[in-house]
């Protein structure tokens, strides 16, 4: 237990003396004696070797040895070795938030590059330094829209958005007197007629939020949605939420449809599924709303000698200055996940980003075609990227068990989200081979 503690007993003795006290204990005299904990915390210490053995055992209790078609908010993509290797450099990993720009230009420039890359991918004006994850980024996007919308108090939220994101948004919004009205989905797509009916006679709406692609994998008709929002409401902001932004390698980005805030989850970019975290919430906006944005921003400036430099900026929005009037309470964000994403996107580059998206889409289209050829499984949605929803007439859980014993995880059951028992979301990425897909389809063919 002394390996993390550099003081020797001799040094402790000298320092105690220098402090003019009789013992280390007396340095704790400011804790009233009746409040002191007298025992020893009941946790046994382990050597490094014991520690590794202990965690190896736990790690092996997880079954990660399957070919997986799981998506639904967490994605399995190949991560080039450079991402882990470069991001593990201690100068990045063990640094604090860049409060001293002179010795944090590395972190600050990475954030500036990240802000650029994400803005370009989404075709949005500005992007912040990250949020905790896609769910909190979504919740914060609604809160930001409320700040822009001032007195207006109602937000329309599509039921096609990831159900966990909706849950988190409800948690964030419910004590602030904001009304959420849900737009139903029809065939796993936002029902645009319902949207039109909800928005046309309601002048209290400050925002409309849809998934793009949505939770079921459907590419929402964003041009129709955008047109309806603009037609009926001059002030309402249009918000998108995306859990698989790799789609924008081939999918028209939100900025092209006049979206005001594009938020979502960028775990796909160089971060592991990691049992759900740490992930990377991205958050982009039109420049007109800049001063209402939550989170940290890095800007380019000059130093005293006229040299280009990067600093945290527009901090007058933030909690350490504005306190209870801040745009958000966020302080620590997901800096290191953001670094991984930046390195990952640099590695892919402009051509690689598009090509990887094409590979994902091609494999998924192949899987859809094959699945539709089976008797008991049908793909429900039409326009999709690398994820789609399948309905089955068989007992899904029995089918899933069967798949797992053959080394395949077939997809995430919608029942897990309190939705349809006969449907599951299948995600196909570059990590799945044609043979993997054929195997899945074969298992489907055999299911009764």
């Amino acid at each position: 237990m002394s390996r993390y503690l550099p003081l020797s007993d001799k040094e402790r003795g000298e320092m105690v003396k220098a402090c003019n006290v009789s013992s280390i204990d007396s340095l704790f005299n400011s804790i009233p004696s009746d409040l002191k904990f007298e025992g020893i915390l009941n946790i046994k210490s382990k050597s490094e070797q014991e520690l590794v053995r202990f965690f190896k055992k736990l790690s092996n209790m997880n079954n990660s040895n399957v070919v997986s078609f799981a998506g639904a908010g967490a994605y399995n993509h190949f991560i080039p070795s450079s991402v882990d290797s470069l991001s593990a450099r201690q100068e990045f990993l063990t640094a604090y938030t860049p409060y001293q720009p002179e010795i944090a230009q590395g972190t600050l420039q990475v954030i500036f590059e990240y802000q650029t890359m994400i803005s370009n991918i989404l075709n949005m004006d500005v992007t912040n330094a990250s949020m905790y994850d896609g769910a909190t980024a979504f919740a914060e996007s609604l809160l930001m829209a409320k700040r822009v919308g001032k007195k207006k108090n109602t937000v329309l939220v599509s039921k096609g958005i990831h159900p966990h994101y909706i849950k988190v948004a409800e948690t964030y919004l419910k004590n602030l007197g904001i009304n959420i009205i849900y737009i139903p989905t029809k065939e796993l797509k936002t029902d645009v007629n319902a949207l039109e009916n909800l928005i046309k006679d309601n002048d209290d709406i400050f925002a409309v939020a849809v998934g793009y692609p949505n939770f079921y994998g459907t590419v929402e008709p964003l041009d129709d949605i955008s047109r309806i929002v603009r037609e009926y409401s001059k002030k309402a902001l249009l918000i998108t939420s995306t859990s698989e932004p790799l789609a924008f390698g081939i999918l028209t980005p939100p900025g092209d449809f006049d979206v005001d805030i594009a938020s979502g989850e960028a775990q796909s970019f160089g971060n592991y599924p990691g049992f759900g975290g740490p992930f990377l919430g991205f958050f982009s906006s039109k420049e007109t709303h800049l001063r209402n944005m939550p989170g940290r921003l890095v800007g380019q400036t000059k130093d005293k000698n006229g040299k280009t430099a990067y600093v945290l900026t527009l901090s007058a929005r933030e909690q350490h200055i504005r306190r209870e009037k801040a745009t958000s309470n966020i302080c620590s964000n997901q800096g290191h996940c953001m670094l991984k994403a930046t390195i990952y996107l640099s590695m892919l580059g402009m051509t690689g980003f598009r090509k990887l998206a094409e590979i994902n889409n091609n494999l998924a289209e192949y899987a859809k075609e094959k699945i539709n050829g089976t008797k008991n499984f049908k793909v429900v949605n039409q326009v999709t990227f690398n994820e789609f929803t399948v309905s089955t007439t068989t007992d899904f859980k029995a089918f899933r068990e069967n798949c797992i014993s053959s080394g395949i995880f077939p997809g995430v059951h919608l029942e897990k989200f309190g939705k349809d028992k006969d449907k599951f979301v299948v995600c196909v990425t570059e990590q799945n081979t044609i043979e993997d897909i054929d195997m899945l389809v074969e298992l489907m063919g055999r299911a009764k």
Binding site: M1, A18, N42, T116, F275, Q334
Partner: protein, 489 residues
Amino acid sequence: MKSLRENEKVIFNYGGAGKSGVDFKMPDLNVKSSINDKYKRNTPAKLPEVSEVEVTRHYTRLSKMNYGVDDGFYPLGSCTMKHNPKVNEKIAGMEGFALSHPMLPYSMVQGSLKAMKILEESLNEITGMDETSLQPAAGAHGELTGILMIRKYHEKNGNPRKYVLIPDSAHGTNPATCTLAGYSVKEVKSDETGCVDVEALREIIDEDVAALMLTNPNTLGVFEKNIKQISEILHEKGAQLYMDGANMNAMMGKARPGEIGVDVMHLNLHKTFSTPHGGGGPGAGPVSYRSHLSPFAPTPKVQENEDGTLVLNWNLPDSLGKVHGFYGNFLVTLKALAYILALGGEGLEKSTEDAVLNANYIRESLKGDFNIPFKTPTLHEIIFNDKFQEEYGITTMDIAKRLIDYGVHPPTVYFPLIVHGSIMVEPTESESKEEIDYFISIMKKIAEEAKTNPEILHEASHFTPIQRPDETLAARNPILKWKDDENEG
């Protein structure tokens, strides 16, 4: 630190058309995309065009323009920049954890659930609380979770109440959190020791108060000696005591919040429990709470079946709901568990002792050279300010930048707001006596330089890639992304 190059261009300025750092094999398939027409992207996203080699060089050189805790002393007050053990990274990178998908059946993720459970139990032991939720992703997120639990508790009793009380020395996230939770903030004055003024509290408390948010030890490093009394005053009116556990490094094994009147608190695993700060996260901010708040904790909760297998319980009718897309920053929480198990109960207590000893040793050694605005005994951190240096025209900012010249990270400056020109030093237990003595010697040197050569302080830092960037310019004319034609460098 540090790069031999003066400048590092943004990555978009490297490379050239068609280059990529990854070679993909396009599968041999003849399929048609369902994405067509207006949904098919016309112009590819502008991203860098560089090989693996250029990516490696660029980010390696950028890293050398950073200072990490592995470089040396990093005494940021209230940030607890302690050593980040290397084995923790290895553990979080184990495939079974890193590749574990959050929506798999529980039978496939027993290892992850078990790790969560052991960490929850360990944190309960350390805090003296009954239960812990690992869902919050950072300290401020933990604050929000804790305050929302309190809100649900009051709602269940018929009235959510209106106010949360916050001492004027509190961190900015505390008031920002209250607003987000739908509460108004009322400030409580600190007394001359930086502690909550109990009389002021008595005057302000009524049945509209939902809770008091208390940082203990407070931001001045002083233990709230009246915490039990404060708790009683609150409980008498049905209000709850929230503890901001940012400074838990000062009390591990010495006092347990659950035994001294605290109802709910958060911990910063990236502070007290050694997980790396990553240049701004990811952190983790678990909340630990007493059992009366249990029904209101976030969904889902890890639960043990009779046969010993673990599941997540999503059916919690009084829960505040979810605060995170899944279960929190799981891989970060693993690192904290590795740290706790490496040290054990005795080691954690020893860490606290060394952290407090280091802070007091610095205090004693520098008290003649720098003013100490609060004379009260302090635990893990010590606040100085620039009062002695004022007559030479030297500010806290000058002192901070000069420290960089001597190769250490400056302390937290100008916080807490109630101290003019605050210099807040938190050495943690991770520093050798040699490193601490070095810091003391350069601080003394700087105090001397302030008298004899103030110019050299005004001009600091001298050896960094950039010097005193213009923050006003950055805010007045925000350049928040690289554009082909507009940007330099």
